[in-house]
């Protein structure tokens, strides 16, 4: 019964142009990704107001703080993340998923594609950054996972977490469109020569998104340093919303600079 519904690209002028690029096959990954980001720019900006996105960013700020506590599971429960006692990072992301879904269902506004992307980007970033930073000389314990999560409360680590989150979000938004078109262009004279090439193409899109969002490392680090430490502030969802607004503006600005560079070249 596992039906899957796949989509097609919209037929507006912007998207027809992008399909034209793909058909021509003489466009770089970066240019193609930028063109997609440009065409979906208005939609992406809507994500700023999406309660799921704000909840995701707020939780990414608060979970490391909770991990610093000796009462980790209680602190997570207070954030709306239901976990067992002495939770693993997998327990945390499973609870994170449910907590964001609860927000998505509140108020009858329901779930959105952008909210879903934000939730997935949050889970991917949180789990990924912990996995990458766990000690490797021994099999990590749950305590190692907790302390690694706690370390994300430090501004530079939060910069890493933020970049991963925004990078995954931008990447998902680009692939949300490209995944519908690229399979139609496989063959000796096409943009992808084989299915295997598509995986390499995906890797190139990811790299592009990481480069586009690298600015987040410095921004998020400074932002948390300023708000979390210097002002000793208990970060609210409003703070998370403000943070995400500026973050998106910075990413859009970066995308715009890169587009201009492509045009100049």
């Amino acid at each position: 019964m596992g039906h899957v519904r796949l989509g097609r690209l919209p037929s507006s002028r912007d998207w027809r142009q992008i399909v034209g690029y793909v058909v021509a096959g003489d466009i770089s990954v970066a240019e193609l990704a930028d063109a997609v980001a440009d065409a979906s720019d208005k939609s992406l900006m809507k994500a700023i107001r999406d309660p799921a996105l704000i909840e995701v960013i707020w939780l990414l700020m608060k979970i490391p703080q909770a991990a610093r506590s000796q009462h980790f599971s209680q602190e997570l429960n207070a954030l709306g993340i239901s976990v067992p006692t002495n939770p693993s990072v997998t327990d945390v992301v499973a609870g994170f998923d449910a907590a964001v879904e609860a927000v998505q269902r509140q108020g009858g506004k329901g779930i959105t594609d952008l909210g879903e992307m934000a939730k997935q980007a949050g889970i991917a970033a949180l789990h990924g950054v912990v996995q990458d930073r766990l000690p490797s000389l021994w099999v990590p314990t749950r305590e190692d996972e907790r302390t690694t999560l706690a370390s994300l409360d430090a501004p530079d680590r939060f910069g890493d977490l933020s970049q991963r989150f925004f990078s995954r979000l931008v990447e998902h938004n680009i692939q949300y469109f490209l995944d519908r078109e690229m399979p139609k262009h496989i063959g000796p004279d096409q943009i992808n020569h084989s299915i295997g090439d598509m995986a390499a193409f995906d890797g190139a899109v990811r790299r592009h998104c990481e480069e586009t969002t690298v600015i987040m490392r410095a921004y998020a680090k400074d932002w948390l340093g300023n708000h979390g430490f210097h002002q000793g502030k208990n970060l609210s969802r409003k703070d998370a919303s403000n943070f995400s607004y500026t973050a998106f503006e910075k990413i859009r600005s970066e995308l715009s600079v890169r587009r201009t560079a492509h045009v100049t070249v």
Binding site: M1, G2, H3, V4, R5, L6, R8, P10, S11, R68, P84, S88, T90, D91, V93, A94, D97, E101, R105, G108, K109, G110, D113, L114, M117, Q120, I123, A124, H127, G128, Q131, L134, P135, L137, T147, S151, L152, D153, A154, P155, D156, Q163, H172, Q175, Y176, F177, L178, D179, R180, P183, K184, G187, I195, D197, A199, D202, G203, R207, V214, R217
Partner: protein, 612 residues
């Protein structure tokens, strides 16, 4: 999100909002537009149906028919798929509205349907103002006789449900009631043929087939995604199970399809069906148990099997000759007498890969598929995406590590808490193993195809739009250049404020000092002090820092090696509890190398007390 008011059973519409569309549904009377029919049951069983289950049948039928009446927009997903999700408010007259309106039932119902379909659900369950349908309306063609089953299971006529029937009836000699829903006569024929096939094998007395038909009548269905269908199926199975005095029933579905990790990035939420997703199964159990005030169990015994592993059961119990009569295709409208599979939908592709991986291709002729899995031309846009996305997913998955699983497929987290008896970590690991087996199966089929059709590939005789060609055709080899750019930029930005783990030695106070006021003293101090000489020498000479052998270190500290290990563990614990949170530093202060011993982590930097 588009809003709809679904008014059922002849109730009056109380909603006057201009932006809310109204849909009227009724299972009886002059305005009847929902057909609900459960056939071939015994007269005696009819009395076993309490009112709450008649209510359940109607609720499930209304939800299912409304789901089909309301469009989810086109597959262009305009405005980020805004039309995909709908807000549905139902007004349903029932026999026991108070029970349905209870928090336990209504919250579980809304949550489960919401997750199952991506829609937002709300209900007004009201006391019927007009006579509700008599139970006999839903059960035509009652027959005489008795049947005492061991199990009740849903039966679609696909590979998985057929394998379940074969394993139970032929393999284990159990008596089963098979509940088969069909909305098209072609599907009904498939189910009947398979039942007859099993009967010819001598299983006639062990099978009781119940045919169910729920359809929209009058107004045709406009939305074919039918995301709520498993709620209908489960409700039908429960009603039949209770008629036979059972508190459990079974969904036979392989785990890969049950979990259904999306294979493309536009497939978000329930666009990959969640019909037997663990969270949905648990939701059904919660709803049904609350309704009946009795523990109801929904079994999914093939949860940890791949399609290949399920298919192999059919051969194991000598029913391979019936394999070609099963049908998994989601497009029965396209079927012809000799081709019951379109070969392009996700179900066809999954089925064919499973069968070929099980080396049972000769039992399921390729001629039964409109498009051959590996050799058929998929040049038409509509047909190419699914196959390509399916293979690409598997190609990528085989190189994925267990540690990176959640990061690459975060959607899986929604299932981790709903697999009975497993922690989230154990569930994650088992799902990863299940998918790896699945991915290997798929790639092996392609590998076999390559061996079998190498000549055609070499001579360019395969259509360029065939899956096999698309796997291997290359004009030239593109190797992405090693960028390193992103790593360099990250490193540069991080270096601006990279935390360094500095410490100072206060010999007078007997303390190792860190920033933020944290210090190590007593036995921890002595331990670090012994390791410090090598650390300083190595740093001074800009050379590798030497390890101290475990016996030597123990001797220097005047303790045995067991005590030394305990002491080191205590020190690590003290450091782990403080440094990561206070300074954003995660490192093991003391490194241990097998057969070489211990040393201080070279990343530690000693400074003077004043500089600290």
């Amino acid at each position: 999100m588009s809003q709809y008011n679904v008014v059922c059973g002849g109730e009056n519409n109380s909603c006057t909002a201009a932006d809310v569309d109204v849909i009227q549904l009724d299972v009886q009377g002059v305005s009847k537009n929902v057909n609900l029919k459960i056939e071939d049951l015994n007269w005696a069983l009819l009395s076993n149906i309490p009112d709450v289950l008649l209510d359940l049948l109607e609720v499930a039928a209304y939800v299912y028919c409304a789901d089909q009446r309301i469009t989810r927009g086109s597959d262009k997903l305009s405005d980020h798929g805004r039309q995909w999700r709908r807000s549905l408010h139902f007004t349903i007259p029932l026999r026991q509205p108070d029970l349905w309106a209870s928090e336990a039932v209504s919250s579980a119902l809304c949550e489960t349907l919401g997750f199952l379909s991506d829609d937002a659900y709300s209900f007004d369950f009201v006391k019927a103002t007009k006579p509700l349908a008599e139970r006999s309306l839903y059960f035509p063609d009652l027959v005489d006789g008795t049947f005492v089953p061991d199990d009740i299971a849903l039966f679609s006529g696909g590979v998985d449900s057929f394998a379940g029937a074969v394993e139970n009836v032929i393999g284990n000699g159990r008596k089963m009631v098979l509940v088969g829903h069909h909305s098209a006569t072609k599907v009904y024929s498939v189910q009947k043929e398979l039942i007859e096939g099993l009967q010819k094998m001598g299983a006639g007395r062990n099978i009781f087939y119940v045919s169910v038909n729920v359809t929209n009548t009058g107004a045709g269905a406009t939305e074919y995604t039918q995301r709520t269908r498993s709620f209908l199926f489960a409700s039908l199975a429960l009603v039949v199970a209770r008629m036979f005095g059972k508190n459990e029933f079974t969904f036979y579905e392989n785990g890969v399809v049950g979990l259904n990790i999306p294979i493309a990035k536009d497939v978000l939420g329930a666009r990959a069906t969640r019909t037997t997703h663990p969270k949905v199964i648990q939701g059904f159990e919660t709803i049904f148990s609350a309704l009946l005030d009795n523990e109801i169990t929904v079994k999914t015994p093939y949860q940890w099997l791949t399609k290949r592993e399920v298919t192999e059961k059919i051969r194991e119990y000598n029913c391979g000759h019936l394999l070609s009569q099963t049908s998994s295709c989601t497009r029965p409208r396209t079927w012809t007498k000799h081709k019951r599979h379109c070969g392009a939908c996700s179900q066809c592709i999954d089925r064919r890969f499973g069968i070929l991986a099980a080396k049972m291709g000769e039992l399921d002729p390729a001629a039964g598929y409109e498009i051959d899995l590996l050799l058929g031309d998929r040049s038409i846009d509509r047909d190419v995406r699914m196959a390509v996305a399916f293979v690409k997913f598997c190609q990528t998955f085989v190189s994925l590590t267990k540690a990176g699983f959640i990061s690459e497929h975060p959607q899986i987290t929604s299932a981790l808490r709903y697999l009975p008896g497993l922690s989230a970590d154990d569930a994650k690991d088992r799902i990863y193993d299940l998918y790896r087996r699945h991915a290997h199966d798929v790639l092996e089929v392609i590998q076999d195809g390559l061996k079998l059709h190498a000549d055609e590939l070499v001579w360019g005789e395969l259509p360029t739009g065939s899956l096999l060609s698309m796997c291997f055709s290359r004009g030239h080899i593109d190797i992405p250049p090693p960028s390193g750019y992103d790593q360099k930029v990250k490193a540069f930005i991080d270096e601006l404020g990279k935390p360094v783990c500095e410490f100072a030695v206060d010999t007078d106070a007997g303390k190792i000092l860190f920033k933020g006021g944290f210090s190590l003293e007593g036995a921890n101090f002595k331990l670090i002090q012994v390791l410090l000489d090598n650390h300083r020498m190595g740093k001074k000479a800009a050379a590798e820092i030497a390890f101290i052998a475990s016996p030597d270190l123990a001797l220097a500290l005047k303790m045995d090696e067991q005590s030394l290990r305990q002491q080191i563990a205590r020190l690590k614990k003290a450091v782990h509890e403080t440094l990561p949170a206070a300074l954003g530093i995660v490192l093991d202060v003391i490194e241990n190398k097998q057969r070489e011993g211990y040393r201080l982590n070279p990343e530690l930097r000693e400074v003077s007390k004043g500089d600290l």
